[in-house]
């Protein structure tokens, strides 16, 4: 029964099984004999994950090559070291992609991040459970629409031939095409993100709100604390851990601002406003055919992203939160 109890203890979240936890671990042959059905079940997933994730990760070798798919391929193309990376940092378009990505992240931290929190507070304050369920059902919905659809819908609303322009023209005003205006692009994508994702994003805060002990509110009310004071002294402190966690995770994810959203609108607003990391990789690599160069940009993003996530998790752990991964 030795292994069984260990396993059970591990499942209960007790001591992690390791060489120290179970000194009488069976030989690998015995383990294989015992666990081969599990390995078999894992196999399809392993093949897909290796084939479309980890083997391609090794394929990033081409970032260090003067890669030519026709004459050399990955085995025959000459190695040129860090030349591609050096070229990247002289490429104004790449620098623009960095600046755009980081400004969009910063902008959305200020103008998108608080929206799901406020929405959750609003939903939570609705007295009627029915109305709450209805509004929740409505605001979650756009999360399930594709970006193509969201862009199409926004175009019909705010484009040159859209509903807003139509109404303005009917009233004798001049119509503006918000879909092609590169100066206001950051506002456009942020409103699209709010429309699509804010409702869904509120779920996690609603969950956190439901864990706050209602007796706290009652006690505070008895002590004479009015609504806003209760929100300030009970609700917000109750949400603090989730807010801190999500904020840190967002910072760790700073290089990801969405991809399809930008690819889809790039031709309308031009690359100056809409170039972000991922679109740069696509256009510099696959469109112009310089695959090694594009892969270098992609690898740079992947590695910096990795560092940011690790750093963000360190910070999360320092705050006593779990982060995307924990050390257990």
């Amino acid at each position: 029964m030795g292994t069984l109890t260990t396993k059970r203890a591990a499942r209960r979240g007790g001591t992690p099984p390791g060489p120290a936890a179970s000194p009488h671990q069976p030989s690998w042959r015995a383990q294989l004999h015992r666990d081969w059905p599990l390995l078999l079940m894992n196999l399809p997933m392993l093949l897909l994950v290796l084939g479309f994730w980890w083997i391609p990760a090794l394929g990033n070798l081409i970032a260090f090559q003067d890669y030519n798919p026709y004459t050399g391929g990955i085995t025959g193309s000459p190695i040129i070291g860090f030349t591609n990376f050096a070229l990247l940092f002289q490429d104004p378009q790449f620098l623009r992609a960095i600046v755009n990505t980081l400004s969009i992240t910063a902008f959305q931290l200020v103008f998108y991040f608080p929206v799901p929190i406020m929405l959750a507070l609003l939903l939570n304050s609705l007295a009627s459970a029915r109305l709450r369920a209805f509004v929740q059902g409505v605001v979650y919905m756009p999360f399930f629409f594709s970006w193509v659809l969201v862009v199409a819908i926004f175009q019909q609303m705010f484009g040159g031939a859209g509903l807003l322009a139509q109404i303005l023209r009917e009233n004798g005003r001049e119509a503006v095409d918000w879909m092609t205006n590169s100066d206001t692009f950051i506002l456009l994508i942020t409103s699209q993100t709010i429309w699509k994702d804010a409702g869904w994003g509120a779920i996690i805060f609603l969950a956190a709100l439901s864990t706050i002990d209602p007796n706290l509110y009652e006690a505070a009310a008895v002590d004479g604390a009015r609504k806003w004071r209760r929100m300030w002294h009970i609700t917000l402190p109750g949400l603090r851990p989730v807010i801190v966690l999500l904020l840190i995770l967002r910072l760790g994810d700073a290089l990801n601002v969405g991809f399809e959203q930008f690819m889809l609108q790039r031709s309308a607003v031009g690359s100056e406003a809409s170039e972000v990391f991922d679109t740069f990789v696509y256009w510099s690599g696959l469109r112009t055919g310089d695959l090694g160069y594009g892969a270098a940009a992609g690898l740079f993003k992947g590695l910096v992203g990795l560092l940011l996530i690790v750093a963000a998790n360190r910070v999360a752990h320092a705050f006593g939160e779990r982060g995307v991964y924990s050390r257990s």
């Binding site: 292994t3 260990t6 396993k7 059970r8 499942r11 209960r12 979240g13 099984p17 294989l32 015992r34 599990l38 390995l39 894992n42 399809p44 997933m45 392993l46 994950v49 479309f52 980890w54 083997i55 391609p56 990760a57 394929g59 990033n60 081409i62 990955i74 609705l126 007295a127 459970a129 509004v135 605001v139 919905m141 399930f144 629409f145 594709s146 970006w147 193509v148 199409a152 019909q156 509903l163 139509q166 779920i203 008895v222 009015r226 399809e260 889809l264 990789v281 696509y282 690599g285 696959l286 892969a295 992609g298 690898l299 993003k301 992947g302 992203g305 990795l306 779990r322 991964y325 257990s328």
Partner: protein
Amino acid sequence: MTVLAFRRRPRKPSGLAPWEERPSPVGQLGKGTLVVLIVVAVLGPLYTIVLTSLSTSATVNRVGGLVLVPDGITFEAYQQIFSDTVVSRAVLVSTGVTVVGTLISAGVSVLGAYSLSRPGSFLHRPLLFSVLLMFVFFPGIIPVYLMVSGLGLKDTYWSLILPTAVSAFNVVVLRSFFMSIPGEILDSARIDGASEFRILWRIVLPMSKAVTAVVAMFYAVGYWNSWFNAMLYIDDTRKWPLALILRQYVVDSNPLPSATAGVTGDAPPTLAIKMAIVVIAVVPALIIYPFVQRHFTKGVLIGAVKG
């Protein structure tokens, strides 16, 4: 990995607690207006799009754009769309990819998640890390593209399924749930001589219907909505899924490369037809949504985020 998945919390009840102060009329009015605005912001665009797709071309021309007030309902646009092969074919492609892809993804993820739900089993840690590390490192578009074309999958429907078949997020959600099933149940089945496959099929899956349904739905929505894979890998316009048609025809207003001269021939797309295509793209999500919405318990996401 926290095991919080799918614990249903009691809903906050309706009405005010006895100690709560009566809401002020001004506050009520403000809150009400805000709620109405939010609901209109989501449903308003959908309303006018559906209405326009159902309007006659005369109505659309008279209004000069999207229709806000109904004036005669017609299915003209839908008839035109489905009389032509381009959009019908794209709907078929999208449906096929969604069905096959969801079956593959859900099957592979359930098997994989179950195989990773037993700490201490052979090779458990490296196999688990091969999935968890997907959260922290993405290999990049170009190496994946080269892999897909190297395997000869370009211009096949497999290129729309296999590269994104496994989502680490979904696997972790399933795994957390499987791990929350009391070990005694599984142990007793094992003592009775049940194989792992039997345990998964007969005990674990029936206990995990809700979480499996949600994961399958996430996959299905992902496949139906996926645009980038198709743009990357499918050059043959006859194999285009709906998302590409939507982009080409509705967003960019380009005529479709149609073999048959019809609605989607050289003529510029009419607004009603454009909106009908939008509706066709939305409808599956709207149909599945209410069925699975009741499973969106708060626990799923907590388990996943903390996982």
